[in-house]
């Protein structure tokens, strides 16, 4: 009986979503258009700024100083030399310098690396050269996990939070309360309906954008699916907190924007937070979308295994449990 009630609400919610043409097109067409727009805009490599990573462990040695004093080069401090080398392989850094060993790495296929090598030979000639090779990662390859994650976030937050608040405002929840349907049955149907719709639509957007821009996917689809499920659940759970008691759509809208905008900016949808203030990075790590995108990006771009992104998965599981407990505990029909 309980399962029958759950299934009935799940089916009704799915029908409601599928018949809402504007919501459908927003969920499907918008992300594809964004990806296509960015693929077009960043097709030509016209950046005039070099990006050089330095592992210095303290002050920059005097031998390298003339090079680091040069203008129009962005210097990024890193701690992990192996990760830095990987990024040189992918053209995400144009050069990597390790101060202690007096070595630098450039990518043999990178035109920017070639130019930087000319500069380094005239400003810090005592450094030893190391060559790496690897294909460049286009911005669009880097962007795809971000766009997919952003779409999941909007769909989860507004698709649950806004809809439940609207139900409460116009009396749908009150009518359901007058039946034997329990809050648990109702909420779990909402969560599962949204989860399944997000998985379906993300798969469609994934396939749609891949046809147009043929992006990079090195990891396992199973791992990516697991990340997507946990990321979606953590975001849905977050919106359950917003939806627990509010009955004003305007307030709900404001609160959902207050949650979604920091994630849009800080969770690495559009640009990497590498090199940003540590406080910002700590703040970003508190946002579920950061873990979804970081893990998805690692799997898609680096071919990361399940163990490599284990911490992201654990954080998303904890966030899901905590957010859902708060949301369900505070839920009121009216």
């Amino acid at each position: 009986m309980m399962f029958q009630r759950f299934l009935a609400v799940l089916k009704a919610r799915n029908m409601e979503f599928m018949r809402d043409k504007s919501a459908l097109s927003w969920n499907l067409i918008f992300p594809i258009l964004v990806v296509m727009g960015f693929a077009f805009a960043f097709n030509t490599d016209n950046g005039d700024l070099f990006k050089v990573a330095i592992k210095a462990d303290g002050d920059i040695p005097a031998a390298i100083q003339p090079f680091t004093d040069l203008k129009h080069i962005e210097f990024v401090n890193i701690d992990d030399i192996a990760a830095g080398i990987k990024k040189v392989e992918r053209h995400q850094f144009d050069m990597l310098i390790e101060a202690s060993s007096q070595q630098y790495w450039i990518n043999e296929a990178s035109s920017k690396g070639y130019m930087l090598e000319r500069l380094i030979s005239s400003h810090a000639a005592n450094l030893n050269k190391q060559m790496v090779s690897g294909e460049a990662i286009r911005y669009v390859d880097w962007l795809i996990p971000g766009i997919l994650g952003m779409n999941v976030m909007f769909s989860a937050l507004f698709g649950i939070g806004y809809v439940i608040v609207r139900y409460r405002k116009n009396g749908v929840l009150k009518r359901l309360k007058a039946t034997p349907l329990s809050a648990f049955e109702f909420l779990s149907a909402q969560v599962l309906s949204r989860l399944w719709l997000i998985l379906l639509f993300t798969a469609m957007v994934y396939i749609g954008t891949d046809i147009f821009v043929d992006f990079r996917m090195l990891g396992s689809y199973f791992t990516l699916l697991l990340i997507l499920i946990l990321g979606t659940l953590s975001l849905i759970s977050l919106s359950l907190i917003v939806a627990a008691r509010l009955s004003s759509e305007e307030t709900a809208n404001g609160l959902l924007n207050l949650l979604s905008w920091p994630m849009m900016l800080l969770s690495g949808v559009w640009f990497s937070l590498e090199g940003s203030h540590p406080l910002i990075q700590h703040l970003a790590s508190l946002l579920p979308l950061t873990h979804l995108i970081d893990a998805a990006r690692a799997v898609m771009i680096d071919g990361a295994q399940l163990a490599d992104i284990g911490m992201n998965l654990i954080v998303m599981v904890i966030m899901t449990i905590v957010f859902m407990a708060i949301g369900v505990y505070n839920f009121r029909w009216e």
Binding site: M1, Q4, R5, L7, A8, V9, K11, A12, R13, M15, E16, R19, D20, Y167, N170, G171, V172, K174, R175, K177, A178, T179, P180, L181, E334
Partner: protein, 295 residues
């Protein structure tokens, strides 16, 4: 016979307002019980406490002698004053959705026929007329074949024809030995449908009984109405007959119609448009509260 619902000293207070202030009554099985009163009298708050939708501040509500529980949920049919259903759901889908919530339901075909939903079964519920929507909401309230049905102002906003059709529908449901609890501010509706009524004002019940009993108890009189223009300038007649001004005319309560008309004729009051009628529940309300029923 044990009452199906009994309410004892029910209170509901919000921050500044006592919405319901010590209400007690019992509803015998199989009758139509009317809760009457103007907007803001506390009818909806009372009925929603009975339905288990809002919690009382204090007081006791019993269904078949027991506190409200899951058995009550399965045995009660509820039609709220304002309800929306999920968007994009057709009439048929709404019925199926609600049917799935209950362990036992009436056959949908039977409900569709009874509530005359057949013509718009596949229409989005948001595109129904007022009367069609109320019939759908009634069908949903009946879907679990309830023993008791709560109807909160079910005909508010309907045109006269739809209202009469809806009354007809309710009479048929009553004939199936169901108990109805109806709130309304239409006295005519209460007169047409209710076996027993309780009149509420300012959160209290101010009168209870069958409509006939109440009218007999409070009125031994007949109501004579005259247009205001007929009586306006005649102070002697106004005072002698204790005429009350009501919505554009004067009303005179008379226990001897011939004597009253004689006085009017002696005072040379024109009798054009004079009407003589029996008192209604509306008159009763006015008598009991001193103010008009309509807000």
């Amino acid at each position: 016979m044990n009452p199906i619902i009994s309410v004892n000293n029910l209170h509901k207070a919000y921050k500044q307002v006592k919405a319901v202030n010590g209400v007690s009554f019992e509803i015998p099985k199989g009758i139509c019980f009317g809760l009457l009163g103007p907007n803001g009298a506390g009818k909806t708050t009372t009925v929603e406490m009975l339905e288990g939708i809002i919690d009382p501040t204090s007081g006791d509500i019993r269904y078949l002698g027991k506190p409200i529980d899951q058995q009550f949920r399965n045995a009660a049919g509820i039609m709220f004053q304002n309800t929306a259903l999920q968007d994009y759901i057709t009439v048929r889908e709404a019925l199926t959705l609600f049917a799935n919530f209950y362990p036992q339901t009436r056959p949908l075909d039977e409900l569709i026929e009874q509530c005359a939903l057949g013509e718009f079964l596949d229409r989005d519920n948001r595109h129904l007329s007022g009367g069609q929507k109320q019939r759908l909401l009634l069908a949903i309230a009946l879907i679990n074949d309830p023993d008791i049905i709560f109807l909160d102002e079910p005909t508010t906003g309907l045109d006269p024809q739809s209202r009469r059709n809806f009354w007809e529908l309710l009479r048929k449901i009553k004939a199936e030995d169901k108990t109805l609890l109806l709130t309304t501010h239409y006295m005519e509706e209460a007169h047409e449908l209710c076996d027993e009524i309780a009149i509420m004002d300012n959160g209290r019940i101010i009168a209870r009984g069958t409509p006939k009993e109440l009218l007999r108890k409070h009125f031994q009189n007949t109501v004579i109405t005259l247009p205001k223009s007929n009586l306006n300038s005649n102070q002697v007649a106004l005072e002698q007959l204790q005429a009350k001004s009501v919505e554009g005319h004067f009303e005179i309560l008379s226990d001897n119609v011939e004597a009253t008309i004689n006085i009017l004729m002696e005072q040379q009051v024109p009798l054009t448009h004079l009407q003589i009628r029996e008192p209604t529940l509306e008159d009763l309300f006015l008598e009991l509260t001193g103010h008009d029923l309509r807000p």
